[in-house]
């Protein structure tokens, strides 16, 4: 089921959480809402679920599969929502938690008891937690609770799955495992899924499409590689991955169409800088300051000889062994793919 939200504006008193934004999610996709805290991503997710409503008078609309659900209560939207801290019903067993959405249905639409039991057990198997149905939430680990919350959200057979910081409350190792598991899980169930995260690595690894948000607005939408390789704004450049921010004057051979406006900045990814022994027409002289080579790749910190700007250079260990840079030595840097923004980053 596709999601389409238009003209969504949401304010909390003076604070603008969402500023007239539009979001389109095609059916079956796994989409990440990525942004720093306070960027409005969770609010947007809650508006999609119906837990918050767009400001009256803002003319904001939410469509699920072409159907206007703007004024539909959350329970009737066909969405499953997984809360950041799972919000499992602490007084109920895992079975009762998962069965909740089925048991609160009216007499006419409620499945018979045996069917509820069968469905709950199937769901617990699907999230790989068979045999814990009689336990209570406090007896489970964080990762287990997360998957129970997912099973509970899926029990009502939603058409859209919304996850708020699904891995935020887990430790690093569990987080990575669960991330991969969720990716496989999505391939299995093919449910339109939107999740909120502030972790760029998580968004880039997991999502089909990344929606980068900042300051109540959407900065860029695209597949992970696209937003990483071609950031639309300085914010996206700085938020995704490591980056060197340089003055325009540092960059040799600026193309003439990029008229150097006041405050223009240039971004170069550390792995897009090449270090050479010999100068060339498109290189700048830099001085080696620090070499860090414990890991798969190597990182060299250099200082521009004329400008005094610091930058990080990433290279393979193989290239490092060829170059053998030493402290305070002068080498020449070639910026392979500099990106020039005529407006400075916010």
């Amino acid at each position: 089921m596709s999601i389409h939200a238009v003209n969504i504006r949401k304010t909390f008193g003076q604070f603008v959480a969402l500023e007239n934004l539009e979001l389109k999610v095609p059916a079956g996709r796994l989409v990440a809402l990525l942004g720093p805290s306070g960027s409005g991503k969770t609010t947007l997710l809650r508006v999609l679920a119906g837990l918050e409503y767009a400001d009256p008078g803002s003319n904001g609309r939410v469509y699920l599969h072409g159907q206007d659900v703007t004024n539909t209560p959350p329970g009737d939207r066909g969405v499953g929502f997984v809360f950041q801290h799972y919000a499992l019903f602490r007084h109920l067993t895992i079975f009762e938690n998962v069965a909740f959405g089925l048991k609160v249905r009216g007499r006419k639409t409620r499945p018979p008891k045996a069917e509820i039991e069968e469905r709950v057990n199937k769901l617990l198997e699907l999230v790989q937690l068979p045999g814990i149905a009689h336990r209570r939430p406090h007896q489970l680990s964080g990762g287990q609770r997360q998957r129970v919350a997912l099973a509970r959200a899926l029990a009502t057979e939603p058409k859209v799955l919304l996850l708020d910081e699904p891995f935020g409350a887990l430790d690093a190792k569990v987080r990575k495992e669960l991330r991969r598991w969720l990716r496989r899980f999505h391939e299995q169930v093919q449910l339109t899924t939107v999740f909120v995260t502030h972790d760029q690595e998580e968004a880039l690894e997991l999502a089909d499409e990344v929606v980068v948000m900042n300051n109540a607005r959407i900065e860029q939408v695209g597949p992970p590689q696209e937003v990483y390789d071609n950031p639309a704004t300085p914010f996206v450049f700085e938020f995704l991955g490591n980056v060197n921010r340089l003055e325009l004057t540092t960059v040799p051979n600026v193309p003439p169409e990029a008229t150097p406006a006041q405050g223009a900045v240039t971004y170069v990814r550390p792995h897009d800088i090449e270090l050479l022994r010999e100068p060339a027409s498109d290189t700048i002289p830099v001085i080696v300051h620090h070499v860090f080579a414990a890991g798969a790749g190597a990182r060299v910190q250099v200082v521009g000889n004329k400008t005094g700007e610091w930058f990080d250079v990433e290279m393979t260990r193989y290239d490092l062994d060829k170059l053998k840079p030493r402290y305070a030595e002068m080498v020449y840097a070639r910026l392979r793919r500099p990106r020039i923004f005529t407006k400075p980053a916010l």
Partner: protein, 320 residues
């Protein structure tokens, strides 16, 4: 006591390898515990014991006679009736107020929070007096209530019977609120209003709204959300608030004294009856016999309270 012993056992375990910086010397500790115990015995346990000693001082027969006296019975029944009205009402109001304050942000929220505490801040005498000022003969509604054109039967509670909705059919020239059962109910409801709400607000605030929101996304309506999610989460806090509210409703003296009129067998609650017996000649032991009943109520309340804290503590640990 449970809290004291548990901290002591923690301390002794912690101090096994070596003395901790926070541990006072044994003498200081003994001195402090001794002072606390002396205070407890002198001001709390001794007076409570005196009640029972005095109650039985003239023998078990006098004790029993004092309790089966029809006026005492009437007072006990009236007290139970008042509690049976005030406690459910305030349970309902308390849950409603706590729900509003803890789960919603709205203009006037902090004013409501202050108003909930008002009955605690006001002297009980004032709590009774405000109703006299409204419903009394000279009060705001006095002209209307004491108008012979609107005669109404007077609700006298149990009186000496067994049916709580007994009415005195008159003829009357007034609608009886003050110096009658309705006034006592009003004053008691006012005084005991904060107990349930006060107990629930911090609890509900700490629990947040997420579980309720989760229930909503799963298709539960507001009613189902309350019964299946909110209520089970607050049940121990609610129970605690209810027993405290009950203890106060049965024990309230000041406010009730102002509005009751002290009519023996009709508008005397148990606390008022005790005072009456104490002041009258020859019923000194009887006063203590009745007082022993209220003391027993207090003891039961404390036992229940400890039981809840024990259960609640366990539930709290389960959450962590």
């Amino acid at each position: 006591m449970a809290a004291i012993s548990s901290t002591l056992s923690q301390r002794s375990r912690a101090s096994a390898p070596g003395r901790r910086a926070m541990a006072e010397s044994p003498w200081v500790r003994r001195l402090l515990i001794g002072a606390a115990l002396t205070f407890l015995i002198l001001f709390l346990i001794l007076p409570l014991a005196v009640v029972f000693v005095e109650a039985f001082s003239k023998g078990i027969e006098v004790y029993a006679n004092a309790l089966i006296d029809p006026d005492t019975w009437a007072a006990i029944k009236l007290t139970l009736l008042i509690a049976a009205i005030a406690v459910p009402l305030n349970t309902f109001f308390g849950v409603t107020a706590a729900w509003c304050i803890a789960k919603y942000k709205f203009p006037g929220r902090s004013i409501l929070l202050t108003l909930v505490d008002l009955p605690f801040a006001v002297s009980p005498v004032i709590s009774g007096l405000i109703y006299v000022l409204i419903f009394g003969r000279q009060g705001w509604l006095g002209d209307w209530l004491f108008d012979p054109r609107y005669p109404a039967p007077h609700w006298i509670g149990f009186a000496h019977g067994w049916w709580p909705l007994t009415f005195d059919w008159g003829p009357h020239d007034s609608i009886a609120v003050i110096f009658a059962v309705p006034g006592i109910v009003l004053a008691t409801v006012f005084v005991t209003f904060p107990f349930v709400a006060r107990e629930l607000i911090p609890l509900m605030e700490a629990q947040g709204n997420d579980e309720e929101y989760a229930a909503l996304t799963l298709g539960a309506n507001g009613w189902q959300t309350f019964w299946r999610v909110t209520l089970p989460n607050i049940k121990w806090g609610l129970f605690y608030g209810v027993i405290l509210c009950n203890a106060r409703a049965m024990g309230e003296f000041g406010a009730v004294s102002v509005v009751s009129g002290h009519i023996r067998g009709q508008t005397n609650t148990l606390p008022l009856h005790i005072e009456l017996l104490y002041q009258s000649p020859g019923t000194y032991a009887g006063a203590f016999a009745c007082a022993s009943l209220l003391s027993l109520l207090a003891l039961i309340t404390m036992v229940l309270k400890n039981f809840i804290e024990w259960r609640h503590g366990r539930a709290g640990r389960e959450l962590a």
